[in-house]
Symmetry: C2
Subunit: 206 residues, 2 copies
């Protein structure tokens, strides 16, 4: 399928064009998706289209943690059953979802909106770092977990945050790095394997 494919219907052509604007969707897949929609009921397709319009027009970001939200304060921040004394700092919304999926964490979050990356022109002022300091200043937080990616930029950001947060009586921790569970040792990269030996933990029977 070439870029100048002529469709017998302008409507179909438009639908293919819109689908192929999405990341990872080529012209061929876009056509398959458009033809799929044609086989659905009018109500279903109306619902399909309007869902995205509603998402874009009505979405808000939580005033507290900057997570995506339908309200001024998100469901997680306003959930009184959660531990408001622990805050997990993450790079973006996906990371909140990933951690929520583990069902291992019952504290709150703070979405930075990125990591410090001079190469990409992203400095501390571009991230929600001041807002994190303000949350720390309230004195309600006992522990801040830095859950940024173990990359150069993530480590830089961790170090910057640690320096900024050190003056508060708050425990600062980072997520454990090591061999992925279920992975063969021989396929682990040597830096991870080396670190996992240095940071070995006492053997426990689960």
């Amino acid at each position: 399928m070439t870029n100048d494919t002529q469709f017998s219907s302008i409507l179909l052509g438009n639908a293919v064009k819109e689908f192929s604007k999405l990341p990872g969707i080529g012209k061929r897949t876009a056509l398959r998706l458009a033809l799929h929609l044609l086989r659905q009921s009018k109500e279903d397709v109306e619902n399909f289209g309007n869902t995205f319009i509603a998402l874009r027009n009505e979405i808000q970001y939580c005033n507290v943690c900057h997570n995506i939200s339908d309200t001024e304060v998100c469901q997680i921040c306003s959930d009184t059953r959660r531990d408001a004394t622990t805050v997990c700092v993450v790079e973006n919304i996906n990371d909140v979802l990933s951690i929520e999926n583990t069902q291992q964490y019952k504290g709150l979050y703070h979405v930075l909106g990125g990591v410090i990356s001079p190469m990409d022109g992203i400095g501390p002022a571009d991230l929600a770092i001041d807002q994190l300091i303000q949350r720390a200043e309230t004195g309600n937080i006992k522990e801040i977990i830095l859950a940024l990616s173990p990359t150069m930029e993530g480590d830089t950001t961790n170090f910057y945050l640690y320096k900024k947060l050190a003056k508060f009586a708050i425990e600062i921790s980072t997520i454990a790095k090591g061999i992925s569970i279920g992975n063969e040792l021989e396929y682990a990269d040597e830096i991870t394997l080396g670190r996992s030996i240095i940071n070995r933990t006492p053997y426990k029977i689960n």
Copy 2:
């Protein structure tokens, strides 16, 4: 990402649900697409959603060839520069697009809407075969090209159509089957290779 993933936003959850209804789109991809839409302008997303609604509500099928169309007679059938004496019979709309993309065909089409397949309960009456006979009866058609898939069902349908069309003074042809251009002989299946030897063509310098 599990099926009961809790999103902090119902709007986001709905968008992910709608995307993952599409064929070949899982929850993870659906989330990536929904977050992508959030980064686009409100106008773009409005346009995105409304395009599919318009497609579904306003699409028509050509009265002549049953191809997808914005009007009662499609752009191909109403194009006077095309050769109206040749009709290419195809299974579905995708096949029209595929053949159009080759830019080698300037005749008209007839979309059957499937092939005869007793296993799937599809008989001749479920397909646009009567309409093809009616087109043949007008006496305007000189050649009908059967361009169905070279499968058991396609061959059955070819045979059925040939029997129905034999009484007209119309040349009936089928698309050439053989080794794909650019393919190595050793990877061709033996039935295709065998047929391509039987149906060998005189050598021509292009």
